[in-house]
């Protein structure tokens, strides 16, 4: 039942992909009922799914390569603070805010990259013993029913909060420096959006495994 559902979904998605792709006219022409044509179409669809998934993966990878560098200013800011305090007896006014902002943005923005790397903790007591197909079915349906609704809501509420914060030009009340806080709040919707994008790739991978019984 579930397998059928994901198959339908896969087809629907293919249709979208194909119609967007350069080969859409070709694919349309081949949309016959003949077996070889159908097989050809299947191959084409598969190639498209793979291409989309790969492209999304590359995007997440690229985001990871970008955001991972935030650790460097975090180290530098803290080290400067310690040196300034002990060597120059002049603690900085900004280090506290800078530290939590960089830390907060760092791990949130990295969540999509972690999803790509399969890093988010899962309990694999049972999972590890399942076939690729079962894993695919379970993952695809949970991405659909758990991941997308939850993260989409997270995105929407985060966006509301972020926009409100931007609107009133909210500043931090954590220190006398009082820097603006909305960029940090905006990290929530941005991270959620990145997660959703990478979620599409993960969904494609698991739906493929559910249908084909092997990894994409």
């Amino acid at each position: 039942m579930l397998r059928r559902a994901s198959h339908v979904l896969l087809d629907a998605r293919d249709a979208v992909v194909i119609s967007c792709g350069a080969q859409s006219a070709q694919a349309g022409a081949r949309r016959g009922r003949g077996t070889p044509a159908l097989r050809e179409e299947g191959r084409l669809a598969e190639a498209n799914v793979r291409a989309v998934s790969r492209a999304l993966d590359r995007f997440a990878e690229w985001c990871g390569l970008l955001f991972c560098w935030m650790i460097v200013p975090l180290v530098c800011a803290m080290v400067y603070e310690v040196i300034a305090r002990y060597a120059f007896h002049a603690a900085t006014i900004w280090s506290y805010d800078v530290s939590y902002m960089l830390y907060g943005a760092h791990f949130m923005l990295g969540a999509a990259y972690t999803l790509l790397r399969g890093g988010h903790i899962r309990t694999d007591v049972f999972y590890m013993n399942w076939s690729a197909r079962t894993k695919g079915v379970v993952d695809a349906s949970l991405y659909l029913f758990f991941f997308f609704p939850g993260i989409a809501l997270f995105f929407w509420m985060g966006l509301q909060e972020g926009l409100h914060s931007l609107d009133i030009w909210e500043v931090s009340d954590a220190s006398p420096w009082r820097p603006m806080i909305w960029p940090l709040k905006m990290c929530i919707p941005v991270s959620a959006a990145l997660l959703l994008v990478q979620g599409v790739s993960e969904f494609l991978k698991s739906a493929y495994a559910a249908v084909k019984g092997e990894a994409l």
Binding site: C68, T114, H120, R122, T123, Y127, F146, P149
Partner: protein, 440 residues
Amino acid sequence: MSNEYLGLILLGALLAGIFVGFPIAFTLIILSVVFGYIGFGDTVFYLMVFQTIGLMKEETLAAVPLFIFMGHVLEQAGLMERLFKSFQLILAPVRGSLYLGVLLTATLFATATGIIGASVTVMGLMAAPAMIKAGYDPKMSAGAITAGGTLGILIPPSVMLVVMGPVVGVSIIKLFAAAIIPGLILAGLYIGYCMVRSHLDPKLGPPLPRDQWATSVGQVVWEFAAGIVPMATIMFASLGSIIFGLATPTEAAAMGAAGAVLLTLFYGRLSFRAIREAALKTLETSSLVLFLAVASNVYGAVFTRLGTSTMMAETMLALPISPDAMLLLLMALIFVLGWPLEWPAIVFIFLPIFMPVVEGLKIDLVWFCTLVAVNLQTAFLSPPVAMAAYYLKAVAPKWELGQIYRGMAAFMVLQMFGLAIVFFFPQTALWLPTVLFGKT
């Protein structure tokens, strides 16, 4: 149906979701939102964002990526191998020298890494070939590597203790101080066990062949000064500045990370590639821990608001058993949970549920956290679902999984013994914090 019972169903649904094997963080978010909405309407949506922002502004947790970065830099630069080589050369004539080398490297390195997987993998990569070549007992070798590697999670600075602080509401510095002696007791137990057994039966761990011995006293001194002292200095400086209140854990973590980079430069191993790899791994590791923290934070808020945690605490406190028995029960629960679940899940999801009970029983929180930390460390070594075994098997394919398990089992017994020591002699955990900061 009252909200308290709704929370119980939420807990049940969560457990089911966890065991299906979907990433726990996402399961937590959707379940909290759905159950929260049923329980108290659209407040839950605001609660979700509010809890997330709250965690993102938790400055003490900035130490998490920094400590992870410190560990990964040292690892990427191959400094663990450097340390191990030094120990190997210095200890070569001793029976069981490689066990000792592994455990000493692990103990020292535990003050740099706060995450278990990393160190078991690296230790396996560098020590397993040497141990196989020297004809060491596979079981005991695997046990020493896995047990040594898991010390990273206990001996401060440990990421687990950093995140436990805000969860339990205890200062991280006190937790660090409390975990030092139990960590050293465990390391001591491992070393004692390996040394005594290899002494009684040299076949288990023969001294290394003559050609691997140091050629002169000078070489030994040089290895010690160049290979061990700089690493040890940086690690103890980082830990020491926290314990003695010179720097906040976040600052000390940053100093440690900067020190790690300098050390890499000192050994001529600094490269753009190494730093980038370390930064990438740091992003992944800290995100997996902290994003789960965010999700659990949302979940915890919903669970508490539904009133379930209060109800559970009251029910458990009303049980006609003594506080000690209750503590034992909690420890048993955590141990069982530690089998299938990884530590962040236990610390973020289940520890907050137990906290009201612990507070109700007036158990010292610092001592309790130390017990939990030692307990969870034990769970890493409990077959058949022990992460450490998989990490090791992946890098040392020559050893059978069965051999690794049996080796780990022996060390697990040692850990249980260590846990018993901390349980029956709370002073092992509480003495150092009391000396440093007064009454806890």
